[in-house]
């Protein structure tokens, strides 16, 4: 395997492409989301999108904040050649809701808020709450793993350039 620092920097574009693709499938191919999580009710963009445009050796960062974070401004940035570097997502399953940020370059999850767990009063409560939390965190990690797996298995095939990129270009231009 490649050196960690080298592979982190060299392939962080994959994380940015993953988030750009993820936005595209959230808007256009909901069936892929369902394939990744049978219990998924919805996966939507929350209150933040960060995009980055690297042009002529200069880096431009665009942050869009607010509920239903400005899809139009985001699309405009994509049209100018930007990629998504960070997303705030809202995941719903059954009557439960999770919110979290995902960063493309590291795939790190931050500000992860899960559905409420039971109150903690005794030592036994701590153990029960912890196990419940682990289950709730795992739901997000499994979802992201499955989505990333779908993305990467497309990314290493010819279908990526021939089909997927064409569809994304069409979506961006529409």
């Amino acid at each position: 395997m490649l050196d960690v620092a080298v592979s982190y920097n060299r392939y962080k574009f994959l994380g940015h492409e993953f988030l750009t693709w993820l936005w595209f499938i959230m808007e256009n191919q909901q069936d892929i989301l369902k394939e990744s999580d049978k219990e998924l009710v919805s996966l939507d963009i929350g209150n933040r999108i960060v995009l980055e445009n690297n042009k002529n050796d200069t880096k431009e960062s665009i942050t869009i904040k607010g509920d239903k974070a400005g899809l139009e401004e985001g699309i405009l940035s994509l049209q100018k050649g930007a990629v998504v570097t960070e997303l705030n997502l809202i995941y719903k399953s059954g009557n439960n809701e999770w919110r979290f940020n995902i960063k493309g370059e590291s795939l790190n999850i931050s500000s992860l808020k899960t559905p409420a767990t039971g109150p903690v009063e005794t030592k036994e409560d701590i153990e029960a709450a912890l196990l419940e939390k682990v289950y709730l965190y795992e739901r997000i990690f499994v979802l992201i793993n499955n989505l990333y797996k779908q993305f990467i298995s497309l990314r290493v095939t010819n279908r990526w350039e021939k089909d997927v990129v064409m569809q994304i270009r069409k979506w961006i231009a529409s």
Binding site: F13, N108, K149
Partner: protein, 204 residues
């Protein structure tokens, strides 16, 4: 950051290698031999070590207290003494004035000034308590994964070093390349293709 907080940040790892048996004893030894030491009455500016999830200020790993369900749950504590620069400046100026007066000279050499500054920092670090930072983690030994509840680069680097030292196992951070290489079930051919990928242009 606590596992039970209402909002958490998580860095995910794969644990490379397996512990020798008896596993719980190996983990207990790794934890106790590298548990956090108090530096409040000592000189070091920084110290890192393991501590208990439930009682991070009094590390105690007895009775397999670090096992919850099928997970190992404990915390990394990073204590750091931070002396405000203005405090250093004040005591440095006082000490310089004292030495000038005692020696009857008008100036001190560069080496003397450095020596005074080092001495001031040394004395102050004995008087200033360290600020503890606690980062929880969950380790699934069976499935060889670990979640570390912080995205801070420095904390993650400390974890990777301490974990290797304590258990003789490496942690591989999961980011786009490692997730694709190790977690996505790619064939050898696809993994070769992965190495040669270059960025996509989404606009023409």
């Amino acid at each position: 950051m606590s596992i039970l907080s209402s909002s958490v940040s998580v860095t995910r790892y794969i644990v490379k290698g397996k512990l020798e048996k008896p596993v719980l004893e190996k983990i207990y030894n790794g934890l106790t031999q590298n548990s956090i030491k108090d530096i409040d009455d000592d000189h070091p500016e920084k110290i890192v070590g393991w501590t208990s999830f439930e009682n991070p200020y009094v590390p105690d790993f007895e009775g397999s207290s670090f096992v919850i369900g099928s997970y190992m749950v404990f915390s990394m504590r990073l204590d750091r003494k931070s002396i405000p620069s203005k405090v250093i400046q004040k005591h440095y100026a006082i000490e310089m004035a004292r030495q000038l007066k005692e020696s009857g000279r008008k100036y001190l050499s560069r080496n003397e000034k450095k020596s005074i500054k080092d001495h001031v920092i040394d004395v102050l670090s004995l008087r200033i308590p360290a600020t503890p930072n606690i980062y929880d983690l969950i380790w699934n030994v069976e499935e060889s994964w670990l979640w570390f509840f912080s995205n801070l680069k420095a904390a993650n680097e400390e974890l990777e070093t301490l974990f290797l030292k304590s258990f003789n196992l490496s942690l591989i951070r999961l980011f786009p390349y490692t997730t694709a290489d190790l977690m996505s079930g790619l064939s050898d051919k696809d993994r070769d293709l992965l190495l040669n990928l270059s960025p996509t242009k989404f606009t023409e």
